[in-house]
Symmetry: C2
């Protein structure tokens, strides 16, 4: 290929192989031609100018912790890694904003602003390893979304390099602004298909009060789903409302003893950081849980105990990776349908003879049923996974709450969106990336990429 | 013109004249060819199919209470009024969402959900007369934004008729979802230039506690700006934080006695609906106000008194209309720059020999300096108005916080956005409205429309 004019380029096959994919299972991985480790906006500009001129696909990459193949290589592409652009450029305490490069790791930003008494709420499960740029690309969620919202709710402004290498700024530092189309929100969640984000201005909040925690135990997992709807339907906004079923408790317990009573079918963990209102919010949670047949509810008064419990919950992803094969789903349903989703997932697991461990951000209706299987069960696992997505849609939900479409769910997008909406997607993509070089095959379909399937699995 | 196939069409010149414009001053108004009062999605579809076929401009209209000429006619256009599509289709208490047609008046929705113990926060000053569709078109703000956010933060899903008459749905009923580009947020604030919104699904919250109110009096208006930054910089999130200067207090007092002490240079009104935390939040406000030289601070314990005070604040717009000429601006600056904005507006008023009354949503940095003038001062008024916008940009702000670009500020958009961002706007517009029939001249420039100027003023 024509020589890329950027200094930080490698064509070393071993390095390329290491950067060729994210953490998704069952997604195709192509053969990249080169990797650029951008260290500045200029590196990104030069890469895109060259790629635009030469019509070479560019795959923007953050920390490659994504779960949908959004950062996987296509044949002949340039991998454009932003991980070295990892500086926190500014933390403005008075305006409660921070300006960061895309490679900054989520937890590093959260810790840096916490030192100044501020709070960056979006906390995806991958927060210790995922980057802000990747969080923006997928509009990542997390545990705090039930009260505070998702990544996009905290993005004020972006610097973006467009497909042809031009640099633009969207949004503003002010709290409000309606001067033109909301391009900021258009780029957020666009999975690198419309431009490459090179700077992010995020809104911050003041540090919340240290939360109080309650945990409710259920014999029947679907009862936990009913308790969520019962509680939130009264208008409470806990800062955390998480669900774990028996299979996920079992998986986590292999790494860390949660001390839960034997026979637990599911638990809900609720937290409130509402200061003087916290105890009242958790008392209401206890009432809802008991009304929905909780076998026990413990309301803690020691924040440290709550921290330990949340650490346990956060181990779910890691514990699932201990299984020979795992395929994590990400469906989101109206909270009134949670109980049906939970029951349906149990039924699907039985029908396809695989284990499905279910954890999730129950307060948002956003669940992560994760198919755990032996390697000879890949076909069953894929069918179970598809059945869960179909169930989510049937319940009025979405095929992806926070992980993104990537390659994994691209074919499913057409089942969620109507024809006119798909046309609008194509028009936007065509308008902003007329040569189709930016992360081809992601979100909107094209010739490149390919269907996610176990046949094309690589690792 | 070729006969429009829609039943509810009129070409009566008097009716057309009545519908030809919104409430903006200084904006061109063209001669419409017809008015369609849509009563159903089918009416909208038929109108757009016909207009697309015949390349006739379509101006979507809500309640025509806009302040930027966004709904003004262009010559030969079809005015497409959505005001008769005014049904509240659904209020789902458990999921805390409502589904409404675009013609529903904001305050009617707020009242309807309040009856069910729910709360629709976005409360533009025009809430008693403006429609949800118009609020969506401009991404309207209001007084509660400082705590709760703007209209766009509460829009979950839209039904939109595209330029060629195809109907699409964007977004979802669930709390989270990232399946594809965020077209919902793209349509919100697009001022009818990308599609016609025919149904809106909004997120609701549970009713907030009845707020407590504090009012702080200042001799020097800029001190009030400093107090806002001082207070919010500590991380408090009041549910209301409004500013009124001496000129606006004087204007309002002609309609309603506010009972403020003589010599008041400015006031701040703060409210907190944070339940058990409310008193503490207002005590902190009092400390900040006194630290910034407030002459007096009154913290009320009677919610009824707070209601009266807020009613007074809400009379500002009406009181300004009593003047022979008025031109309301809508700039938003970082809150640390509020004091400079306030002082700058006073200076501009003196320089151009016009009165500028200033009220605003101080907590967001979103101010409405309003030039009040005699009819022979129109040129001075326009120059003062431009000077305020320039000042806002110089202070790192935006030319429009919540009113939109419309015709009034279209030429200013190029001063706020860079060239690549303007190009991206054009690409999006071209992609979704390839024949350029949807509200031409708004947001992105085109041959139609024209510069806002006092010469083209009509009324």
């Amino acid at each position: 290929m024509t020589q890329l004019p950027v200094g930080a380029t490698t064509e070393d096959p071993d390095v390329l192989a290491a950067y060729a994919r994210d953490r998704a299972s069952f997604c195709p991985v192509g053969q990249p031609a080169a990797l650029v480790r951008a260290r500045s906006v200029d590196d990104v500009v030069e890469t895109l100018q060259w790629a635009y001129e030469n019509r070479v696909p560019v795959i923007p990459q953050g920390a490659r912790t994504g779960l949908s193949g959004g950062a996987n290589a296509v044949d002949g592409c340039v991998l454009l890694s932003l991980e070295k652009m990892d500086r926190i450029l500014e933390i403005d305490v008075e305006e409660q904003i921070a300006v960061v490069q895309p490679g900054v790791i989520n937890a590093r930003l959260a810790a840096a602003v916490a030192e100044k008494g501020l709070y960056y709420p979006p906390d995806p499960g991958s927060k210790d390893i995922s980057s802000i740029g990747g969080n923006v690309a997928t509009n990542a969620g997390g545990m705090c979304c039930v009260k505070y919202g998702v990544t996009g709710d905290f993005v004020r402004a972006l610097q973006v390099v467009l497909a042809d290498g031009r640099v633009t700024r969207t949004g503003r530092r002010t709290a409000k602004g309606v001067a033109g189309y909301d391009l900021t929100r258009l780029f957020v969640g666009s999975e690198g298909t419309l431009g490459v984000v090179t700077e992010v201005t995020v809104a911050l909040r003041s540090a919340a009060a240290r939360p109080l925690t309650a945990v409710a135990f259920f014999g029947d997992a679907a009862d936990a789903g009913r308790a969520v709807a019962h509680y939130l339907g009264q208008g409470f906004r806990p800062s955390v409302l998480e669900f774990m079923d028996a299979a996920s408790i079992k998986a986590i317990s292999k790494i860390k003893d949660l001390g839960f009573p034997p026979g637990t079918g599911a638990v809900l963990i609720a937290q409130s950081d509402a200061g003087n209102n916290a105890a009242e919010e958790l008392k209401a949670f206890e009432r809802s849980a008991r009304a929905c047949h909780a076998t026990d509810v413990v309301v803690g008064d020691d924040p440290a105990e709550g921290d330990l419990l949340m650490q346990g919950r956060r181990l779910a992803g890691q514990s699932f990776e201990e299984y020979p094969g795992s395929l994590i789903d990400d469906v989101c349903v109206p909270r009134g349908k949670l109980a049906e989703l939970i029951a349906g997932v149990e039924r699907i697991a039985a029908e396809h003879d695989v284990m499905i461990a279910c954890v999730g951000h129950a307060g948002d209706g956003n669940m992560h049923p994760t198919v755990l299987f032996d390697l000879d069960q890949a076909e069953q696992a894929q069918r179970a996974f598809d059945a869960v997505m179909r169930l989510g849609l049937d319940l009025g939900g979405t095929i992806t709450g926070e992980h993104g479409v990537g390659l994994l769910k691209r074919e499913w997008l057409a089942r969620e969106l109507d024809e006119a909406a798909l046309w609008a997607h194509h028009q936007v993509k065509q308008g902003l990336d007329p040569r189709g070089i930016l992360n081809p095959g992601r979100v909107v379909s094209s010739a490149s990429g390919g269907r996610a399937s176990p046949d094309r699995r690589s690792s």
